[in-house]
């Protein structure tokens, strides 16, 4: 199987995942009657706009009322509100995919638009920046320390890391975030309570970036602390297993320098399973980001999710489930490509 066939197959299976999630979500959405509510609110909004636009042309109140009723009936038919939810399933699916779900109840973009797709497109980059930075730092630290620990199995450091990685599993990311705000923002006043920029944001571009970094420090630190224990532990186990293999022993016996053995013989083999581990942790990182963003009022999709729940905004929640799955699927695909780069066996 060639590289491209393999990638195409991966992409296909990920698209199936995305589509499956969408289908499931839309079915639930329809069966619980939520889709009726979302569509009717879109219809009401359009009818309101229509009434405003024709009110200047049609003076007779009865004729106006008749025109509005006619317009509403057309809309109801075109949105499929006169039919049961399962008949308009394909239509709804298409709407979700195109993020054409009307307006958010209260959430807005920076410029004041409340169209759902505008809001999500504004928030998406913020989430991507936060999550990808956290994942990258997590794995840089995790792999570095994991390899370090693996060179001294059974040592005090080794046992401490295994224990701490188990403990970090029990610490809720969001609570650690709250704790950090209490300590570093409230008591020590070293970092801001949350948000993306200071207000007003600095005008100088460089200062603006520094400002973002200053605001992102706490959320990223929290995300890294919670996840890094496991990364260290898993890396250590993988590296340890490979370091005991015969071919590594042979390389050492040949008298190759330790650094070279580690790079060429151990890490080369350990890279693919470590990457697999990153892939497996991805879904969890995205979930953690929803909560961490909320705690730090980071204006990404996670905070938007929280707002949507508080405001009971069905359409927004549906769009966000789709977007999070989409982000996940895309990230998965990027990692799969990376996997092919590090694992030569896949390329044969």
């Amino acid at each position: 199987m060639g590289v491209y066939t393999r990638l195409a197959l991966k992409a296909l299976s990920l698209i199936i995942v995305l589509f499956g999630v969408l289908l499931f979500v839309v079915i639930i959405f329809g069966a619980t009657g939520l889709s009726d509510r979302v569509l009717s609110s879109i219809v009401n909004e359009e009818v309101r706009l229509y009434r405003q636009s024709v009110a200047s042309q049609i003076r007779d109140p009865e004729a106006l009322e008749a025109a509005v009723t006619k317009f509403r009936a057309e809309l109801v038919r075109s949105y499929g509100l006169d039919r049961p939810w399962y008949e308009r399933l394909p239509n709804m699916l298409l709407r979700v995919i195109l993020l054409d779900l009307g307006r958010a109840r209260l959430a807005q973009t920076f410029t004041g638009s409340n169209v759902i797709s505008d809001i999500i497109m504004e928030r998406l980059p913020n989430t991507v920046i936060l999550v990808s930075t956290a994942i990258a730092i997590n794995f840089l630290i995790g792999i570095f320390l994991g390899v370090r620990v693996a060179t001294k199995p059974g040592s005090r450091l080794d046992r401490a890391t295994s224990f701490l990685s188990a403990v970090s599993y029990a610490v809720p990311t969001w609570w650690l975030g709250i704790l950090f705000i209490l300590v570093f923002a409230f008591y020590l006043r070293l970092f801001p309570y949350g948000g993306l920029y200071s207000s007003p944001p600095p005008s100088d571009p460089l200062m603006r970036w520094l400002d973002i970094i200053w605001h992102a420090t706490l959320p990223i630190t929290v995300l890294v602390i919670v996840n890094v224990g496991l990364t260290i532990y898993v890396t250590r186990t993988i590296v340890l297993n490979i370091a005991q293999e015969d071919f590594v022993q042979v390389a050492r016996v040949k008298g190759l320098p330790e650094g070279l053995v580690n790079r060429r013989y151990v890490m080369r083999v350990a890279a693919p399973p470590i990457l697999t581990n990153i892939i497996l942790g991805l879904a969890g990182s995205i979930g953690g980001a929803i909560l961490t963003e909320t705690v730090f009022s980071w204006p990404g999709m996670g905070t938007l999710f929280f707002e949507a729940i508080v405001q009971s905004d069905e359409a927004l929640i549906l769009s966000l489930v789709y977007m999070f799955t989409l982000v996940y699927v895309v990230a998965r695909f990027v990692l799969e490509v990376l996997y092919m780069v590090v694992d030569p066996r896949v390329r044969i």
Binding site: I28, L34, Y169, I178, I290, T294, F306, V321
Partner: protein, 474 residues
């Protein structure tokens, strides 16, 4: 491997994580059982959910033990309560003694009366205060409503909802105090100013050098029933001297005693964690068993589904489902079960695939044992310890997941959980105001409960999986 319980426990006990985990679990279980049995649950959950109960308490007050560490002593909330008081015709009265020794004034003073019963003419309840300097002042007056047409004595009043009087914002008392200060201390203040500065300051203070300072000593609060021709009895009542600190764990922004919420969180959190984990493990293992042993089409379908569900970001979907079906406890557990099983199914299947080819299964088959018998008698005992370990291993993840949902505002509102306490704290900006007593305890309890199960898992690891035994002995 299957049922050598004694030996297994010895190995378990030899790990410190195992010992610590078990000890913590026992503590958690005792607290939960105590909450459910010794304390009347209906009564405490009423104390948590019914606004009548905490309307009197100070809002956002830290626990009283902070006084042990802080330089400035915070005034503790003092409750002067009585039960079963009989007040007849002004002759008998209910006395409450307050020995007040503090550098600050109370934040408020309130009187509440519950379950009043009278015969004869409706009484007028009067609360008067005798100050340490001997001056006396009428603090509150409650006119009990007369009988409605058709109502026969004894007449009961304030049974459902207690009657509350906020003494510290009473116009009458402000007027009485202005009068008292003018007569006895030659200090002229207007009743409006008394109200503005706080009636309780004037009630429990003396003028000194142009300002009012607290007056230490014994205050006598006396409740009498005037104009009553018959018997008046009060089931429960209290005068609350509102302080800046309250109870063992402090209060939240609406004045609820956090100790009660935290205590109720124990059984709920354990219940959600353990019950969900048992169901998830049961279903996951059963599907894995079937999938691995049957093979063929069934195996294919189950594995495809498990693969699919293992590959989706869980939290957004869980949020969506709980939001769509409503935040009820059973919905939350059901959703966890629906999405929790795949991981275990995949692992169990791979274990079964190995077992299926082993010789003792082959010999059982050769003897002519049925599939069901082989599954029940030969395969199940082999994976039973593994399944039990999985139950414990999964428990903290569900405790944490429920806490996360609660924190996002999707907890069952009828049950107080630690996650919900944190949610209200976060939403009412407790973090930004530094209300640590509201933020730290629920989070620490979530962590301790989860760590308990993590530690037991660590302790069980060498029992279940003999290969790792060496690691913990080192």
């Amino acid at each position: 491997m299957s049922l050598r319980l004694g030996g297994g426990f010895k190995i378990y006990w030899s790990t410190w994580t195992g010992r610590a985990g078990l000890a913590l679990l026992i503590v958690l279980a005792i607290v939960s059982i105590y909450t459910l049995t010794v304390l009347p649950v209906a009564e405490i959950s009423r104390q948590w959910n019914d606004p009548q109960h905490w309307a009197d308490y100070p809002k956002s007050a830290p626990p009283t033990w902070v006084n042990l560490f802080s330089e400035r002593r915070l005034l503790e909330t003092i409750s002067l309560s009585f039960t079963g008081a009989r007040l007849s015709g002004g002759a008998k009265s209910q006395d409450l003694i307050l020995n007040y020794q503090a550098e600050t004034f109370p934040t408020y003073i309130s009187l509440s009366i519950e379950g009043l019963e009278y015969t004869g003419t409706p009484p007028v309840l009067v609360l008067s205060v005798v100050r340490p300097d001997g001056y006396s002042v009428e603090a509150a007056r409650i006119v009990v409503p007369p009988p409605r047409p058709g109502e026969n004595p004894p007449i009961t009043r304030y049974e459902q909802a207690p009657e509350r009087v906020l003494i510290s914002s009473s116009d009458d008392l402000a007027r009485n105090l202005a009068q008292l200060y003018a007569d006895k201390f030659d200090v002229l203040v207007s009743p409006t100013r008394v109200l503005q500065e706080g009636v309780q300051r004037y009630l429990m203070g003396v003028p000194r050098g142009g300002s009012i300072v607290p007056l230490d000593g014994v205050y006598r609060f006396t409740l009498t029933a005037l104009q009553s021709s018959g018997e008046t009895s009060i089931e429960r009542g209290r005068v609350l001297i509102g302080g800046e600190a309250y109870g063992l764990m402090g209060t939240d922004v609406i004045g609820r005693d956090l100790a009660i919420g935290l205590l109720l969180g124990f059984p709920i959190s354990l219940f959600i964690g353990v019950v969900t984990s048992v169901i998830v493990t049961g279903i996951g293992a059963a599907l894995g068993l079937v999938s691995g042993y049957m093979g063929g089409k069934v195996d294919n379908v189950i594995q495809r589904l498990a693969d699919f569900m293992n590959n989706i970001p869980l939290l957004p979907i869980l949020i969506f489902l709980v939001f769509s079906f409503g935040a009820k406890l059973w919905v939350i557990i059901l959703v966890f079960v629906a999405f929790g099983w795949p991981g275990l199914t995949i692992v169990t299947r791979s274990i079964i695939l190995q077992l299926r080819e082993s010789q003792f299964i082959e010999s059982a088959r050769a003897v002519g044992a049925s599939s069901l018998r082989i599954l029940a008698r030969h395969i199940f005992p082999h994976i039973a310890p593994f399944i039990i370990a999985q139950i414990i291993f999964f428990t903290p993840s569900f405790i944490l997941l429920e806490a996360a949902l609660s924190f996002l505002g999707l907890g069952d509102p009828s049950l107080p959980t630690w996650g919900q306490i944190l949610e209200l704290g976060f939403r009412s900006a407790a973090v930004y105001l530094g209300y640590w007593w509201w933020i730290l305890p629920p989070g620490l309890l979530i962590i301790i409960t989860s760590i308990t199960f993590v530690m037991i898992s660590l302790g069980l690891e060498p029992v279940i999986n003999p290969r790792v035994r060496g690691r913990f002995r080192a």
